[in-house]
């Protein structure tokens, strides 16, 4: 363990970063807010400290204070020493020098941290020239080396590209390259993988773990995901409401947590290897008609608009067919760009499909007149990904949740409407007095409950959840999933649950559909999918899900497979997954694999599934 060696050295050399009694406060018009209270921690050379907590716990503010980057109304007290130098008392110019040469920073959103109108290579080279005082050509060469080091494919070409031309994962690699360019002693990564897909997340975390070992620098990984911590960190500090509630070696904190809050966090983190089988196969009586049937559904988008029609056509969903039976819950998983959201929007006729049919209870939705379809919408409801964005900022919670009643039950009088409103708010776990609040006054979890209340006030028969928890904290995620499971048990509605988190889908769904670049890869009962995935892509997805267990996770990370989905504008020929598939054969480039039905009711689209172990 590198941490043992590191702590032996620490007796002699000062810690890379040591905070003692650090308190961060903000002066606001409504009084002083304490973001962090009396935080004491240390990061040794070659050690990674995982800082865990919910949003609002003050994780980021502590390290922004260390860097002198607090907002204008923020103040830091206490002590923060970087290699023995007190940072809090440094003049801005001196702090700039320390920060530039000694501390690298990687933020959550790589797009906002990169300048949009400069090429990637130019931005890296600029930093290198500033820090190392070398010439243009040397800086260019050094930038190229750095991009190779962070495993950017085709680095020469990437140097000439602009940030918007890169995928999220590549942008984050570029950010890491910039952070490394000054050869820092300390790297602070603030939620570096939160906005990325699981597969890319695993790659970035693996890269960070490698860099830490290779450069013997100190590293701080700020995250709300215990799975991420388990794979990379040597020690963990758990923050709650600005205070450290528990700190220690990663194995001790994650395996034998002492603080009740750490236990709550661990319990709420969904695990792929959890005990208990996923929900059993739905009791769909054989021969009973499907409630929702999609047949060869295809959705295309026009990209760009010129004088002579669109510049290109993008096939977001390609010939997807599935059936959903009454009372069943189906998970739809895949990376971003897989067409998950497009698929459910087309199913609801919020998007017009280019081909294929959507049949709900025997009625083809596309053939229905607008008025009939609108009336039918009371049965087909959806919960959105962005809890705040899906609520009208100018409406109160009561108006938002009551809108479906206004549309579909205009005959109700005021009292009946109020009674239904109160009942649905109670059902989703909100108090009645929230009805007069505005969305921006609620927390993310409360906003999502409002969205669920709006979607369920009319007791729909199909509830589509489009990544309903991906914008929420881990404990809040768990609460929302529990609520959805509860609502589903109460009624016989069907659930279509879209997520990129396989561990969450496992808790809720009886069957799972895996999509890649708009095509179906595998559709299987949850139990067999998780225990014996057939499609190589399903295997890759499962392997990438982090498990909050420090004994297993580092090895899982080390096996993370490289590669990201190609652009949907130019999908590979044959099997779309073949460019990333470890088992690709010549036949995969020639023919599109068929959608085969296996004996155990699962379906797979792969040429080689029979030959795989």
């Amino acid at each position: 363990m590198p941490s043992i060696r590191a702590s032996a050295e620490a007796a002699a050399a000062p810690a890379v970063l040591s905070l003692s009694g650090l308190t961060v406060t903000f002066d606001t018009p409504r009084g002083r807010i304490t973001a962090a209270r009396d935080v004491t921690l240390a990061v040794e050379r070659g050690e990674c400290l995982g800082v865990v907590g919910e949003s609002g716990a003050g994780k980021s503010q502590v390290f922004l204070a260390v860097l002198g980057l607090l907002a204008a109304n923020g103040r830091a007290q206490g002590s923060a020493r970087f290699l023995g130098t007190e940072l809090l008392k440094l003049a801005p110019a001196a702090l700039d020098r320390v920060r530039g040469a000694g501390i690298g920073m990687v933020f959550q959103d790589p797009m906002t941290s990169l300048t949009p109108h400069l090429t990637v290579g130019g931005q890296i080279a600029e930093v290198i020239r500033r820090h190392r005082g070398v010439g243009r050509a040397a800086a260019h060469a050094a930038a190229l080396t750095l991009l190779e080091r962070v495993q950017v494919s085709d680095p020469e070409r990437r140097m000439q590209q602009y940030p918007h031309e890169l995928s999220g994962g590549l942008r984050q690699r570029v950010m890491i390259a910039i952070a490394l360019s000054s050869e820092p002693q300390l790297l602070i990564a603030d939620e570096p993988t939160t906005s990325l897909d699981v597969t890319v997340q695993a790659q970035i975390l693996a890269l960070l773990a490698e860099l830490k070992r290779e450069r013997a620098m100190g590293m701080v990984l700020i995250t709300h995901d215990l799975g991420a911590v388990a794979g990379v960190a040597d020690r963990v500090a758990v923050l709650r409401e600005g205070c450290i509630v528990e700190t220690g070696p990663v194995a001790a904190v994650l395996k034998t947590p002492r603080d009740p809050y750490t236990r709550t966090l661990l319990r709420d983190t969904p695990r792929l290897d959890a005990d208990g089988a996923p929900p059993g196969a739905a009791a769909a009586p054989p021969g009973s008609p499907a409630a929702l049937r999609l047949t060869d559904l295809t959705v295309r988008f026009n990209v760009g608009r010129g004088w002579f029609g669109p510049h290109a056509r993008l096939t977001a969903v390609s010939a997807v067919s599935l059936e959903l039976y009454a009372g069943e819950s189906l998970g739809v998983v895949g990376e971003s760009g897989a067409g998950k959201s497009t698929l459910v929007r087309a199913a609801l006729q919020l998007l017009r499909p280019a081909a294929g049919r959507v049949v709900w209870m025997g009625q083809a939705l596309a053939d229905l007149p607008q008025g009939v379809l609108r009336a039918l919408r009371r049965d087909l409801q959806i919960i959105f990904q962005d809890p705040l964005g899906s609520l009208d900022p100018r409406m109160t919670v009561g108006e938002i949740v009551g809108e479906p009643l206004r549309v579909h039950a205009p005959h109700l009088d005021r009292a009946a409407r109020a009674a239904q409103l109160a009942a649905v708010l109670r059902r989703v776990g909100l108090t009645a007095e929230l009805a007069s609040r505005y969305p921006h006054e609620l927390s993310g979890g409360q906003c999502q409950r409002v969205g669920i209340a709006r979607a369920t006030i009319l007791k729909p028969r199909l509830l589509i959840c489009d990544e309903p928890v991906s914008a929420l904290d881990v404990p809040t995620q768990q609460q929302i999933v529990t609520l959805l499971a509860h609502l589903k048990r109460e009624s016989d509605m069907c659930l279509l649950f879209v997520s990129h988190n396989l561990a969450l889908v496992r808790q809720l769904c009886e069957r799972v559909l895996v999509l890649y670049l708009g095509r179906m890869m595998e559709l299987a009962p949850a139990h067999s999918l998780y225990t014996r995935p057939r499609h190589p892509y399903t295997r890759e997805l499962l392997a990438a899900v982090p498990i909050p267990d420090p004994d297993i996770q580092p090895a899982r990370l080390a096996r993370a497979r490289p590669g990201e989905p190609p652009s949907p504008l130019s999908p590979p020929s044959g099997c779309v997954y073949r460019t990333r598939c470890p088992h690709a054969a010549p036949v995969c480039a020639e023919r599109i694999p068929e959608w085969e039905e296996l004996p155990d009711t699962r379906r797979v689209a792969c040429h080689r599934w029979r030959e795989l172990p």
């Binding site: 018009p29 409504r30 949003s55 609002g56 003050g58 994780k59 980021s60 503010q61 929007r345 609801l348 919020l350 609108r374 009336a375 919408r377 009371r378 087909l380 409801q381 959806i382 959105f384 990904q385 962005d386 964005g389 899906s390 609520l391 009208d392 900022p393 100018r394 109160t396 809108e403 479906p404 549309v407 579909h408 007069s436 609040r437 505005y438 921006h440 006054e441 609620l442 927390s443 993310g444 969205g451 709006r454």
Partner: protein, 290 residues
């Protein structure tokens, strides 16, 4: 980190109201506008003179020279106090009404174009472009000649017809951005009919910037009206507007400067106040502003 503020119920409107109340300059500007408007409505009754009555004994009387004419008279012996206030009345009426006309047309046109999108949007906005490209005086001249010269209805129509173009563009841009927000999609998924989406979800959400813009077009229209009157296309004698008062005043500038200065002072005060109010509203509706 999530930033959500604790504390009692607030809304964007209430917040904006509170910020506006804290903005002394904007509040003072609003107060002055209201005072001037009330004064223009009520004060002429205090004077024995009407806006077209001639006092042959006192031609071109400077202010303060006679107790009967507080602000003097013009070359025809008409009381300048009464005429200026009548001018303020007419100018305010025309500018506020024309702003309303351009606001209603512009908001509806822009919101429908933005929400409809595609070909409908294309055609609606091309029409706006065509009207934009015609010289605005040209449109005004055509419209005013269709009616009787100096008809207030024609003037209103002409000013409103030109004013809504910019509003429509602003609103369409806002509506386009709003259309792809998830809460609009949520409304469609609930089954809210398109007109209700427009009126219940789109329009309230773009009203903030539009209201701000409205306070900025009021002074613009006062100036336009003055300019048209100056050209002889606007309000005609014996009616008075700030524009034609300044026009006649300018001709007498050397011998009787007060004929220019009195209406010009009112115009300047109103313009400055409307601009301050507009600035205040812009800040009040911008949540990033502290």
């Amino acid at each position: 980190m999530n930033e959500h503020s604790p504390g009692g119920a607030r809304g964007l409107w209430r917040d904006a109201g509170r910020r506006l109340r804290r903005d002394r300059v904007a509040l003072a500007a609003l107060g002055v506008i209201v005072l001037v408007a009330l004064f223009a409505l009520l004060a002429p009754a205090l004077s024995p003179w009407g806006y077209e009555s001639l006092d042959w004994q006192h031609l071109a009387l400077p202010p303060g020279a006679s107790a009967a004419h507080w602000l003097g008279t013009d070359r025809l012996g008409r009381d300048l106090f009464v005429r200026t206030l009548h001018g303020v009345r007419l100018s305010l009426l025309i500018s506020v009404l024309a702003s309303l006309v351009s606001l209603v047309i512009g908001v509806l046109w822009g919101a429908v174009a933005g929400l409809a999108g595609g070909r409908t949007d294309g055609w609606m906005m091309r029409l706006v472009d065509v009207l934009y490209s015609l010289p605005y005086l040209f449109i005004v001249i055509i419209l005013t000649t269709l009616w009787q010269r100096g008809s207030i209805a024609a003037l209103l129509l002409a000013l409103g017809a030109v004013g809504w173009l910019t509003t429509a563009r602003i609103v369409r841009g806002q509506a386009l951005a709003l259309k792809h927000r998830e809460f609009i999609e949520a409304a469609r998924a609930v089954g809210v009919p398109a007109p209700a989406i427009l009126l219940r979800h789109i329009v309230p959400n773009l009203l903030g910037p539009v209201l701000v813009y409205a306070t900025l077009i009021v002074p613009q229209i006062i100036v336009s009206e003055s300019f048209l009157s100056f050209l002889g296309l606007g309000v005609q004698e014996p009616h008075a507007s700030l524009g034609n008062l300044i026009l006649t005043g300018a001709q007498e500038m050397e011998s009787a400067p007060w004929m220019l200065l009195v209406p010009a002072a009112f115009l300047v005060v109103l313009l400055v106040c409307f601009n301050f109010l507009g600035d205040g509203l812009r800040d009040a509706f911008d949540p990033r502003e502290r």
